[in-house]
Symmetry: C3
Subunit: 488 residues, 3 copies
C-alpha cells in the first residue's frame, strides 16, 4: 500500500487507464456469457479487449467456438456459468425458459439482461424482459444494462455521443458491479434506479424521433390547409370563373406559394409560447407557478418547430429559383414580348412593380440567411460550445430578427394587394394576409415587453421576486423551463 500512498495521483488511476494489466490472466476477473448471437459475440470481443476473462456457455461448444474470439473460452452452459460472478444473458426472451435448467448453478449470481424486445413484443408483454427473467430466476440478481448499445458500437468501441449505458436493478451492489464493468469497457453508466425502470429502458431503442412527431404533423397539417386554399384561389377559381386551365401550376407554383406560408407560421409559433409564458408570469406575478402542460410541451418543441420552419423556407427558396427555369415562364416572356410588338408598345416598365419585387426578394434572402444561422447554431456540437447567453442571443435575438425580416418580406410581397378587390378570388383574401396574424401578435407583444415598466417587472420576476400572495407550488423541471423561457 505504501506505494499507493505516496503518489496517489497515479496509483488510483490504475484502472481507468490500463487494460493491458487485465490481460495478465490471474488478475482478470471472469465474466460469463449465455448466447451465441451477434450481440453475444460482440460483447465477448469487447470484454476480452477490455481485459476480462470471458467464458461462453453454449449447448454445442464445438459448433459455436469458431464464432467467438479465440481469447474467449467456449464451453457447455453448465460449466460456463459455474465460476463467474456476473453472467450476461444474450438470448431472445422466448428462449429464457430454456435456461431454467441452470437455475441451481446460477443461484446467487448476477444476471445481466441485455435483450431488446421488438415493437410487437414490447406492446404484447406488459412485463419487461428483465423482470420476466427475474421471475424465472428468483435466486439471482437481475441487472438490466447495455440494451441501448448496438453490437456494432460494442465492437467498434463507443464514440463521443453514444457512450451512455443506462443500468437498473433492485440490488445496488449488483448495479455497481455492472457499472464498474461498463466503465472498464469505456462506457458511461447511468443509474436508472430499480428494475421497474427496465420496461422504460427497453423502450429506449424503440423510440423513433418522438420530439419530431408533433412538429412534423403540425407542419404537414399547415401545408395541406394552405395548399388547398391556394389551389382554390390560383387554380380552381380561374378554371371555374374564367374557364382558364391553370392546372399546370400544381407541381411548382402552388407549392411555392404554400411553403412560405408554412415556414412563416411555424417560425411565429416558435416565439409565441415564449410570449405566452412571459404573459403568464406577469399576470401571476411569479415564475414559480407551474405552466400548463401544453405550454411546457410547446416550449420544449420550439427547436424542432424552428428547424422545420427553416426547412420549408429553404425549399421555398429552391422552388423560387426554379421558377425562371420553367417552360411556362419562357412562354410567358415570349408571348409578352410578342404582345408588346403587336401593340406597338416600344418600352415596358412599371416602376412600382419593379421596386416591390426588388425589395421583397432582398428581404427574403436576408430572412433565409438569418434563419440558416439559427439552424447551424442548433447543431449539438455548436450549441454545446456556446454559453447560455450566446445561445439565447442567437436563438432569441437573431430569431426575432428573422421573424421581423420575414414579416417585412411578406408585407412587401403583398404590397397593396390586400386592398384590391380583384385579389379576392371567391371572396377569399390573398393567402399572405392569413399568415400575418400570429407573427404580428408576437412582434407586438415583444415590443410591449420592451416597455421599461413591463420589462423591469419581468426581469424582477425572473430573478425570483414574487408579488405578495402569489401562489407557488411547482416542480423543479418547471423552473428550468421558466428560466429557459426567460431567455426567449
Amino acid at each position: 500500500m505504501s506505494r499507493e500512498m505516496d503518489k496517489p495521483l497515479i496509483s488510483l488511476h490504475l484502472v481507468d487507464s490500463d487494460t493491458s494489466l487485465a490481460k495478465v490472466p490471474d488478475e482478470a476477473p471472469k465474466v460469463g456469457i449465455l448466447g451465441s448471437g451477434d450481440f453475444a459475440r460482440s460483447l465477448a470481443t469487447r470484454l476480452v479487449s477490455s481485459g476480462f476473462k470471458v467464458v461462453v456457455g453454449s449447448r454445442n461448444p464445438k459448433r459455436t467456438a469458431g464464432l467467438f474470439p479465440s481469447a474467449a473460452q467456449v464451453t457447455f452452459q453448465e460449466e460456463a456459468v459455474s465460476s463467474p460472478e456476473v453472467i450476461f444473458v444474450a438470448v431472445f426472451r422466448e428462449h429464457y425458459s430454456s435456461l431454467c435448467g441452470l437455475s441451481d448453478q446460477l443461484a446467487g449470481k448476477i444476471l445481466v439482461d441485455v435483450s431488446n424486445p421488438t415493437e410487437q413484443e414490447h406492446l404484447q408483454h406488459r412485463e419487461s424482459n428483465a423482470e420476466y427473467l427475474a421471475s424465472l430466476f428468483p435466486t439471482c440478481t437481475v441487472v438490466k444494462a447495455f440494451n441501448v448499445i448496438s453490437a456494432w458500437t460494442l465492437q467498434a468501441g463507443p464514440r463521443d455521443g453514444n457512450r451512455q449505458v443506462p443500468i437498473c436493478s433492485d440490488q445496488p451492489e449488483a448495479k455497481r458491479a455492472v457499472s464498474e464493468m461498463a466503465i472498464t469497457m469505456g462506457f458511461m453508466p447511468v443509474d436508472m434506479g430499480s428494475l421497474a425502470s427496465a420496461r422504460e429502458m427497453e423502450a429506449m431503442p424503440l423510440r423513433l424521433l418522438p420530439a419530431w412527431k408533433v412538429p412534423t404533423l403540425l407542419a404537414l397539417g399547415l401545408f395541406i390547409c394552405f395548399y388547398a386554399y391556394n389551389f382554390v384561389r390560383d387554380v380552381l377559381q380561374p378554371y371555374v370563373q374564367e374557364s382558364k386551365n391553370k392546372f399546370f401550376k400544381l407541381p411548382v407554383s402552388v407549392v411555392n406559394t404554400t411553403l412560405p406560408c408554412v415556414a412563416y407560421v411555424l417560425l411565429s409559433l416558435v416565439y409565441l409560447p415564449g410570449v405566452l409564458a412571459a404573459t403568464l408570469q406577469l399576470r401571476r406575478g411569479t415564475k414559480y407557478h407551474r405552466f400548463p402542460d401544453w405550454l411546457d410541451h410547446w416550449l420544449q418543441h420550439r427547436k424542432q418547430i424552428g428547424l422545420l420552419s427553416f426547412f420549408c423556407a429553404a425549399l421555398h427558396a429552391l422552388y423560387s429559383f426554379c421558377l425562371p427555369l420553367r417552360r411556362s415562364h419562357r412562354y410567358d416572356l415570349v408571348n409578352l414580348a410578342v404582345k408588346q410588338v403587336l401593340a406597338n408598345k416600344s418600352h415596358l416598365w412599371v416602376e412600382e412593380e419593379v421596386w416591390r419585387m426588388e425589395i421583397y426578394l432582398s428581404l427574403g434572402v436576408l430572412a433565409l440567411g438569418t434563419l440558416s444561422l439559427l439552424a447551424v447554431t442548433s447543431l449539438p456540437s455548436i450549441a454545446n460550445s456556446l454559453n447560455w447567453r450566446e445561445f439565447s442571443f442567437v436563438q432569441s435575438s437573431l430569431g426575432f430578427v428573422a421573424l421581423v425580416l420575414s414579416t417585412l418580406h411578406t408585407l412587401t410581397y403583398g404590397w397593396t394587394r390586400a386592398f384590391e378587390e380583384s385579389r379576392y378570388k371567391f371572396y377569399l383574401p390573398p393567402t399572405f394576409t392569413l399568415t400575418l396574424l400570429v407573427p404580428c401578435v408576437v412582434i407586438l407583444a415583444k415590443a410591449l415587453f420592451l416597455l421599461p415598466c413591463i420589462s423591469r417587472r419581468l426581469t424582477r420576476i425572473r430573478r425570483g421576486w414574487e408579488r405578495d400572495g402569489a401562489i407557488k407550488f411547482t416542480l423543479p423541471m418547471d423552473n428550468a423551463l421558466a428560466e429557459k423561457t426567460s431567455h426567449v
Copy 2:
C-alpha cells in the same frame, strides 16, 4: 480489503460508476444549500440524484419545502449548515450580508459560491462575488464553482460539450473536495487556480461570442465601403451624368455586386496572416521568435473570417439566383426583344459575352462548392474527427483552391472591362479591380514559397532549425501558433 485487492480492476471503479450506493443513507455525504431560487432547486435535484444527502437552509422552511425534491431535507438555515462540511451559497450577491448571522456555524466550513453577476454588477464591483463572500466569512474557505452551469443543465444532466466546470479556490483541499463532488455529479472539473480567478470565471457566462466581434465588424466595414462605392458607380453616376433613374438597383443589384467583393477580400484575409507569418519566420531565420500581437490575434481569428467569407459568398449566390426573378429583368428582356424586332435584327448573339458568362458562372459555383467543404469541416464535431494533417489539408490546401477559383471567377467576370475607358465611371475603376489586390499578393507569395530553395528553408525552420544568431525569446503559446501557421 482483501476483496479490493484480488480484483482491483473493478473495486477501484466503485465511485465513478455508482450513485446507487450513495443512496444508502449512512454512506451518502451530506451537503448544505443556502437559497431557494431556480439554481438552488436544480442543484438540490442533481445532488440528490447523484447520491448526496441534501439539507436546504431557508428562513421559512414550511413555505420553501414544497419547491424542493422530497428527498432533500428543508430546515432553518442555522440547523441546515450545522452538520455538512460543504455548503452551496445559491443566493444573489446583495443577500450575502444577510447570511452573516450564520458565521459561527459556518466557521471552518467550505462555502461554494455558484453566483453569476449581471453585466452591470460585474462592471460595478471590481471584486468578484466569491472574493466578496470570502471577505464576509474570513473563517470559511470559499470555492468558486458551477457558475458556468445553467439550472437547466443541472437538471437535464450534462451533455457532451458543456460538462466542464471551472473551479478555483485558495485552498487546494477544499478545491479537491468540490472537484470530487463535480465528478460524482457527472461534470469535468477544470482547475482555475486561486480565488483570484473568480472574477474571470464570473465573466465567462457574460461573454458574448468574443471571437466573432472583430471579424464581424471587419465584414460590416468592408460591406459598407463597397456598397457606397458601388452606389456611386452604378446608381449615382447614371443619375447625375445620364439623368437615368437606377435607384431600383439598391435592394438587390448593388447588394449583389457588393457581397462578392466582401466575401473575396475576407477569404484572402484568411490566408494573408499565414503568408506574413511565414515571411517573418524566413526573415528571422527562426520560428521561436514571438509574433507581434496583432498577427497572433489575426491568426487566431482566421476561422471566423473564413466562415463570414463563406456566408457572404452564399448570400451572393442567393442574390444572383434572384436576379432573373426580378420584374426589372423581365422588362429588360421584353424590351430587348421588341427593340430587336423594330430594328429588324433577326438573330442576336455575341459569342464573347456568352463565353465570358458561362465560364465565370461555372467558376463561381465551383468556388462556392469548395468553400462549403471548408465551412463543413470547421464544424466542431467534424474538425475533432480529423487528424492534424487532414484538417490542414482541407483548411489550407482546399482553402487555397477556393481562393484561386474565386480569383479566376473575378477575372473572368471582369474580362477586359478593366481596360475599357467607358467602365471608369467618375474615373472610378470597376469594383472587382479593387478586390484583386490582396488575393493576388497572397497567391504570388504562396507560389514563391513553393520554390525549392525557399520551401526547403521554411521546412527546416519549422522543424526547429535556426539561423545562427537568431534571437529567441518566446512564450509557449506562440510556438503552437507558429506550428499552426506552418500548416497554412
Copy 3:
C-alpha cells in the same frame, strides 16, 4: 485509511478531479523531458498544469530555459534524467543516437517516444521510431504514446473529439504508468498492445482521409465518363453533323447534364451493397457467413458515397439555377420572341412541355431536400444523438425515398425522349437512360424484399435463425456488418 472508508464516494475521486493537489511539490511525481522543440515545450506546459514536476534536459540549459514555463526545471541532460522514472523523448529520430551517452543514467527507466516521422521517413524506415529507440536503449522500456496529439492540442487542452491517445509497449507496467499520466493530463488512453504496433501508430497522423479515397476516385471516374459522353452528344455531334458551334456549352450546360448522372448513380451505389448483402444472406440461409471483402468495404464506404452524391446533387442545383443567368439563355429567349413575331405566331404554348418541366423540377427539389436531411443526420454530433432505429430510419428509409424521388425526377425529365429516334445522336442513347439501370435494379430488389414470404425469411435470418446445413465460419466484425446491413 479510516477517512477513505467512511466516505468512499468522495475520497476515491481524489485523482481524476484534482490537479491543485499535485502542485504541492512533495506529492507531485517527477517527469523528465529530453528536447526543446515545440512539442517538448507544449508537453512541459501541459504536464506542469496537470500537476507534474517537470525536469527538462538540454545540452544548453541557459539558452533553453527561456523557452519553457518557469515552473519547469531546465538543466543538463545527465542531471535531468537521473531522478524521474518516466522520461519523454521529444527529439527527431535522427538525433536519437546523440542520446546514447545517457544510456547509463537511463537504464531501467521508461522512455516515452512521442515522435512522428514525416511521410518520407515513414516509407524509408521499415522499423518504427519507437522500435529504433528501443534498439538503442536495450536497458530501458520504450512506450510509444502522444504522437497523435499536436503541440497545439497539448497546450489548448483536449477537446471532445480528439482526446484519445493510443499507447503501446512491450511492458504492461510501463504502459499503465503512461496511461495514468495521460488520464491525469485529460486524455483517454487507448491500449494498442505491443511495441510492434508503434509503426501503425506512427502512420496515424500521416493518414489522409483514407475512407474518402475510393469514393472520391469513383465519383471522379463517373464524372469524366459522363462528361465525355455528354460532350460527344451535345457538342461534337452538332458540330460534326450540323456544323453548329455549341462549344460554349462546355463550362455550364454539359457539366450540368453530367452532375445529376453522377449524383444519381452514386446514390444508387449506396443502396446496392445492402441489397447484395441481403440477397447473399437469403441464398446462404444464414447471416453468419463472412461477406466477400469487396462487399465489406463497399458497405463501410456507403456514408462517403452518399455524401458525395449529395454534394454532386447540390452542385447540380446551383448550376441549374445559373442557367437563366447565362447570356446565351437571354439571347435564346429574345431570338425566340423575334422568330415568333416574324412568323406572326401570336401565342406560344406547348402544354406537354410545360407539364413535363413543372413536374420534374418539383421532384428534383424534393429529392434534394430529402438528400439534405440525410447529409445533416450523418454529421457526427447528430448521428451520435440518434439511437440505432432512428439512424437507420433516416439513413435507409428516407434515403430510399430520395432514391425513388430522383428516379421519378429522371424519368419525368426524360419523358418520351428515350423513344424518339431524333434523340439518338451518333446512335448514342440519351444520357439519362444509362443512369436508370442500377437504381431501378435496387428499387425492384427492395420491392421484392417487401414480399411477405421473403421479408419474413430475411427477418428470421437476421434474428439469427439459420437454414440447416448453412455453413458458418466468421469473424465478429462481419456480424456487426451483417447486422448493419440488416438495417439498410
